[in-house]
């Protein structure tokens, strides 16, 4: 083979190696335009607020205000607390649901379960939230039933507080927990559980030592999705909280309304930092859990 031919050949192999790159282009462009450019704008705006007078001037004022005022830290606390509550409850409800659905043998029933679980996604979040408000208000169906059964004397407050937000958020985000967990449970072959039982594990030990560790990746994925969606959610906390529960997304809305763009940018960036931090932290925790298990051997 001549040098020229070899070069042509290597060119061809390079071209072949990168031939799928154009497929990435739309996603990369979108991500660049919509995400990274916007992020750059946000960062800029957080330190160059447009003053009424005209020319932007560099200032740390927005950052300083956020980081030194205890109120804003309490809002961060409320937001994280909401994320933890919603994620925890979604997991407690979603894991058994996913497990049960993956055990359904008859295709018809499995389809019914899918439709029941995932159809609400097709309905707007606003509509579903208003639905929950109707159900949970003082004169709503839930309070009516509880009072008819004489379980309570006075109607209990189920909306315009954290309880209401959590109930509605868990309902809205449940499919995002169930789906990843279901997909990993579906990959488990029954013989692993049989092997555990054959080796002396009862049902609980089999779950604890085989099923749970093998489904952990699904649990982590589902939890991360639910958590990040919860802390950045706006419509449901806004409506169900009735202005009484302030979270970060609410701050952004308030400051945008007040054309306080610098401060809104700071809160937006902080929300992003929180989400990324939680993702990184949870990934690291899982890896450490696996590593600890290795060491204890």
């Amino acid at each position: 083979m001549t040098i020229a031919a070899a070069r042509r050949g290597s060119w061809r192999s390079v071209a072949r190696r990168y031939r799928h790159v154009p497929l990435l282009a739309p996603a990369v462009l979108l991500s660049m335009a919509v995400f990274w450019v916007c992020m750059a704008v946000l960062v800029t705006m957080s330190v160059y607020p447009f003053l009424a007078a005209g020319t932007p001037r560099f200032t740390w004022v927005a950052w300083h205000r956020f980081l030194t005022d205890g109120y804003y830290w309490s809002v961060v606390g409320t937001t994280l607390n909401l994320g933890v509550l919603v994620t925890g409850l979604s997991l407690v409800i979603g894991y058994p649901t996913a497990y049960a659905i993956s055990k359904i043998r008859r295709p018809g029933w499995a389809l019914t379960a899918y439709v029941m679980l995932f159809a609400p996604i097709l309905v707007s979040v606003v509509v579903r939230t208003y639905g929950w408000m109707l159900l949970l208000s003082k004169t709503g169906a839930v309070n009516y039933v509880l009072r008819s059964l004489r379980l309570i004397d006075e109607p209990i407050a189920l909306i315009f507080n954290t309880t209401g937000i959590v109930i509605a958020m868990v309902h809205i985000l449940l499919p995002f927990m169930v789906f990843p967990v279901m997909s990993v449970i579906g990959q488990l072959t029954p013989d692993l559980k049989e092997a555990a039982m054959d080796l002396g594990a009862n049902r609980w030990q089999t779950f604890r030592r085989v099923t749970l560790p093998l489904t952990l990746p699904g649990v982590v994925a589902g939890s991360q999705i639910v958590f990040t969606l919860t802390i950045s959610a706006f419509v449901t906390p806004f409506l169900m909280g009735g202005g009484k529960v302030q979270i970060l997304s609410g701050l952004i809305y308030r400051d945008m309304e007040a054309v306080n763009l610098g401060f809104a940018s700071v809160v937006s960036l902080l929300l992003l930092v929180l989400a990324v931090a939680i993702l990184v932290l949870s990934n690291r925790l899982v890896r450490q859990a696996y590593a600890r298990a290795e060491v204890s051997r």
Partner: protein
């Protein structure tokens, strides 16, 4: 002799399908016992019922004289090597093997010792720290066996454990398994559809078909004295000739097949001396059919004609038609096949000792 496992008329129905139909077995202590049959014959279901992974529809399972039908798998003194091994992918080799010991709360220094010992036993010392996905097929196989054996079960159940291996590795593992069983002395119950595997490894074999046990015996008994047509056909190969009993004496039975009178030693008659006139099937294995000079002094001997000849390496297969139109397959060593060519006349025959008479 002590029985480790006994099945008393055990049946298993899945809906309307009868997977296992009133199977009774006794398996002796320290025995290498195989359940052999085609797929769907109920052998795996039978094994799973012994291990407690399937609950019998009827009948009882006994382990060392105790009825264990209602005992769940995690409290039975049996351990299983699964067909697809079912090693835990999230655990190391060490933790896979230690799984059962940890559940029994064995002290950790004893666990390390036992795991090391069993790794030595399966010839993989020092493999404890490996991940399952780092092992080859044969190594996974051994770890699966080690994981079961480390619990010192009364009975080790093996569900076609060599099925996924290539032929060469399979032959090697067969020899190793047999040697291993010899060393540890544990009762092995081995499920396979591979008759060669069952014949080479087993002390005794139960041949199963359609959920029933057709015959139980040593490899030799099953091969040389099949009790049913299914067994004769499934283990090795056989020529089947349909006829009627023409005469029966103290040491021989004569069967008339299309005018040929075939003599069988009475110990080859499956169901004891039959009545004269009874319809029977004569079974002769191809390798027992002698051709030409070799057939000169056998008792059952006729003139025939070679139909065709197939060279198969060490042996040559010839299809021969006897005078009255009976077609036979003969398998002869290739140095005895010199004169065989299609259309040539040939003498074909076999001894009464190789003539099996099956009830029809």
């Amino acid at each position: 002799m002590d029985d480790d496992v006994e099945l008393r008329e055990v049946s298993k129905h899945f809906g309307t399908v009868v997977a296992v139909d009133q199977v009774s077995l006794q398996i002796r202590r320290g025995e290498f016992f195989s359940l052999l049959g085609p797929s769907g014959c109920g052998k795996t279901t039978t094994l799973r019922m012994i291990g407690g992974l399937e609950y019998p529809t009827a009948g009882d399972v006994l382990l060392r004289g105790q009825v264990v039908t209602d005992v769940p798998p995690y409290r039975r003194a049996t351990n299983m090597v699964f067909q697809h091994l079912a090693l835990f992918p999230h655990l190391t080799v060490f933790e896979n093997i230690a799984f059962g010991l940890r559940l029994k709360r064995v002290p950790s220094d004893a666990i390390s010792r036992k795991v090391d010992d069993v790794l030595q036993l399966v010839d993989l010392p020092g493999y404890g720290a490996r991940e399952i996905h780092q092992l080859s097929g044969g190594q996974k196989q051994r770890i699966a066996i080690a994981r079961a054996l480390v619990n010192e079960p009364a009975v080790l159940l093996l569900d076609e454990p060599l099925g996924a291996l290539d032929l060469k590795l399979r032959l090697q593992m067969q020899a190793e398994l047999k040697a291993l069983q010899h060393r540890v002395g544990t009762t092995f119950i081995y499920v396979t559809h591979d008759q060669g595997e069952a014949l080479t490894m087993s002390d005794r074999i139960a041949v199963m078909n359609l959920g029933r046990v057709e015959q139980i015996g040593t490899s030799e008994e099953i091969y040389a004295r099949p009790q049913t047509r299914f067994v004769a056909a499934f283990i090795g190969e056989a020529n089947f000739l349909e006829g009627r009993v023409a005469a029966s004496s103290a040491d021989a039975v004569t069967v008339e097949v299309d005018g040929l009178r075939i003599v069988a030693s009475v110990d080859r008659v499956a169901a004891g001396p039959p009545q004269v006139g009874a319809a029977v099937t004569v079974s002769v294995r191809p390798e027992h059919v002698k051709l030409g000079a070799a057939a000169a002094d056998v008792r059952n001997r006729w003139d025939g004609r070679v139909q065709d000849v197939t060279f198969m390496g060490a042996v040559v297969r010839a299809r021969v038609t006897l005078g009255s139109g009976i077609a036979l397959i003969a398998e002869v060593h290739n140095d005895a096949a010199a004169g065989l060519s299609p259309g040539a006349p040939v003498v074909a025959g076999w001894t009464p000792g190789h003539t099996v008479v099956l009830a029809r």
